[in-house]
Subunit: 444 residues, 2 copies
């Protein structure tokens, strides 16, 4: 596949646009998306304009928002309006969030009245809530209807709706009473009353956090969840494909921040080098400030270092092990938080677990450190290294377990908060502990 | 919510089982799952037995495989057979993969002939392929049928099928010709021939890698994808909820390995401390071997360290910055590989990008390091630190970008491969570069 895409890229380079157009006709929209995501801005604009209009709409719908935004910028006003109108209301709002307000307003004006009103329903909810990610185009079934009536409504209104496979069931006040699946409607007798075959609804409040709702939708294997207002009236529907997009975005953020960088929010090969550099430099500077602290800490023990230079040899090993242990705990807890396996209220449970894990890890590594360093550098140095490893592992595992919870409690991204703090804290306190133990045992 | 779950936990502790049973009746199955995932093995077994049989089956279906396994172990033979039979064939096979072969065989014998034959279809595909994760219970529609005939078949066979919302369309040889959505069937006129309203099928070969297929299903927003054999006959269907489980499992693995630990594959609070410790110790030992290398490298420069003790102060800062830069690059590329944004064939593109990113990062940090270290420790030390930062950042970004690709090319998990290698390589070569530069500039 990649080979085929490379051949297409050659066609662009050689400006063989007619051949490229023919080759693009052979690809299905998903493959076209893969291809576009590997190109720079200009080549992508050229290629996109070669697509037949129908394919272009489908491809546009599947692209990353960042790339949609760039394509929109490169198009004529009339074409923009066309693509904009072809999106689902929820996708449209997500794209608008990326654009300057003036452009967004101008594009809203191009929409028909129905599309405009659907869009503004979603715009009414704050960014980051599920209201902003839901679709207002749902088919609700009154609870006292028969199966035949319900199916009739699906046939009539189904083409426009976001989904018809999970249908909210409502009473006369439009309050949510349950959900019925299209499969159950089809299997049931025509004169069955919907109320008798509906299931309990697992619904979500429109003001609820979007990531949390997306995780719940995925965990509980729902194809769609009804979204309700504060009075439990149905206002929209949230589908599993939107849940997937939200989860993937969050996973990419978490992965990037674990690695100490801001997420790119766009495919790697389509991102300019300077932009990649900017996504990393802030983090390196933040971590650098923490590292500068280690210079001062070591500076405070310069005298001891001069007396026993051997102590310097173990510095990378000790703070490296501390950093690794802290990272392990932080990663586990950050992931458990994301999956909803632990909450901020579990702080003492987590601390008690991590202290024990840290002590066990420290004792194992400490014993090995004691023997190895002892054999090579003498038993007093071995004792210092062994004891320091026990202390550092316990410290690091506890700090690593607590930091994501603290970050979450303060309303920050657990990974953002945990990463620099653990590095700085574990490095600095680890070195202090190391020299304290060394001074006590070596008498320096 | 967590508060409510804590109250339930109190009921277990106080052995108020009657109250617990009443409280459990109030919860929906999803909440019961959340509760069970916070309990230890014994409490979970006690609670599970209190559930009404219907709820128990639903809850069991949603649990993590590791917990399903433990519950199965704690039940009587007759009950085991009941739960085992209630699972979908693909879920059943996944659970069997976790159990000792003798138990799995015994449980297969308890199944009815139909369930047993469905299960063995899936068991025929190698583990890790999509054939192992698909469902053989699909409803295929012959292309020459009318919409009325197709809907009739869905009504008749729909209750047993994994999904009826995406239906494979086949010819007389059962070769896949396309897919038709239940929505399109419902909206169309009854005498329309299915062939005329079907869409191109985005199908996947049964031997295809399961993670790759799951990503494609999610990226392209399919509710289900037909699975075919080598002759393009339909053999099963793969649904988005199974894609989600596979992706979540892979994400958890990647996250754990980025943090330098093996994945737990089960909720954190339900995992014994010793098991958490075991998931981390191997990685710490591997990384420790790498760190031991830094002790030898520093040992080789002991003379220079004794001559200029100040050099020791910058060791944590320099290798820390190198590690961070390498990690950033490795994380970005690992993620891009997982999402299919880059492939192993892009190795030179990636290298050229990362060399430039590393140089830019190194120049920025190097300039700051030069000024700050220069002011405090003199301009010769400043020059050493500045130059070393440029070199280390370039080295680390390139190595960090290459390692995941190399790992992938060798058939290993990119994250597993990248992590220890970067730590060891960047630390060791970074220190050598540091002392080389120091010896040249300081004349020691």
């Amino acid at each position: 596949m990649t080979e085929q895409l490379d051949e297409l890229a050659d066609l662009i380079r050689d400006a063989k646009l007619r051949d490229l157009r023919l080759a693009l006709d052979e690809l299905n929209p998903g493959d076209v998306v893969d291809f576009l995501e590997r190109l720079g801005v200009k080549d992508r604009a050229v290629t996109f304009r070669l697509l037949p209009k129908d394919t272009a709409v489908e491809v546009f719908d599947m692209l990353d928002q960042a790339l949609q935004h760039e394509i929109i910028e490169g198009l004529q006003d009339g074409d923009v309006a066309h693509f904009f109108a072809s999106l689902d209301p929820d996708d449209r709002v997500r794209l608008m969030d990326e654009m300057p307000a003036s452009v967004a307003r101008k594009m809203l004006r191009h929409l028909g009245p129905r599309e405009r009103s659907l869009t503004s329903i979603i715009l009414g909810y704050p960014s980051g809530t599920i209201g902003r990610a839901m679709s207002p185009e749902f088919v609700a079934i009154p609870e006292h209807w028969t199966v035949a009536q319900a199916l009739q409504k699906v046939r009539r209104a189904g083409a426009e709706a976001e989904t018809v496979y999970t249908l909210p069931v409502v009473d006369r006040q439009r309050l949510l009473k349950g959900v019925v699946s299209l499969r159950d409607l089809l299997i049931a007798e025509e004169d069955t009353v919907v109320e008798t075959i509906m299931n309990d609804a697992d619904s979500v409040d429109a003001d609820h956090d979007a990531e949390d709702a997306a995780r719940r939708c995925a965990d509980r294997k729902h194809l769609a969840m009804p979204v309700t207002d504060s009075e439990h009236r149905v206002v929209g529907i949230f589908t599993v494909d939107d849940a997937l997009s939200i989860i993937e975005r969050e996973e990419s953020e978490d992965a990037a921040r674990h690695g100490g960088a801001e997420p790119l929010h766009r495919p790697y090969l389509s991102t300019p080098v300077l932009r990649i550099m900017r996504s990393r430099i802030v983090w390196l500077l933040v971590l650098g400030v923490g590292a500068a602290l280690t210079v001062s800490v070591l500076g405070a023990f310069e005298e001891q270092l001069e007396a026993v230079t051997i102590l310097a040899l173990f510095v990378p090993l000790l703070i490296g092990t501390g950093g690794n242990t802290g990272n392990q705990a932080a990663t586990t807890i950050t992931r458990a938080l994301a999956l909803g396996d632990v909450s901020t209220r579990d702080v003492f449970k987590v601390l008690w677990r991590e202290v024990r894990v840290g002590l066990t890890l420290g004792s194992t590594l400490g014993t090995m450190g004691f023997v190895l360093a002892g054999v090579v550098y003498g038993w007093d140095i071995g004792t210092v290294i062994g004891l320091t490893l026990v202390a550092i592992c316990t410290l690091a595992a506890s700090a690593g377990g607590l930091m994501p919870l603290l970050g979450k409690a303060l309303g920050a991204d657990p990974a953002v908060f945990a990463n620099p703090f653990i590095a700085t804290f574990v490095d600095a306190t680890g070195l202090i502990v190391y020299f304290m133990i060394a001074m006590a045992i070596l008498g320096i």
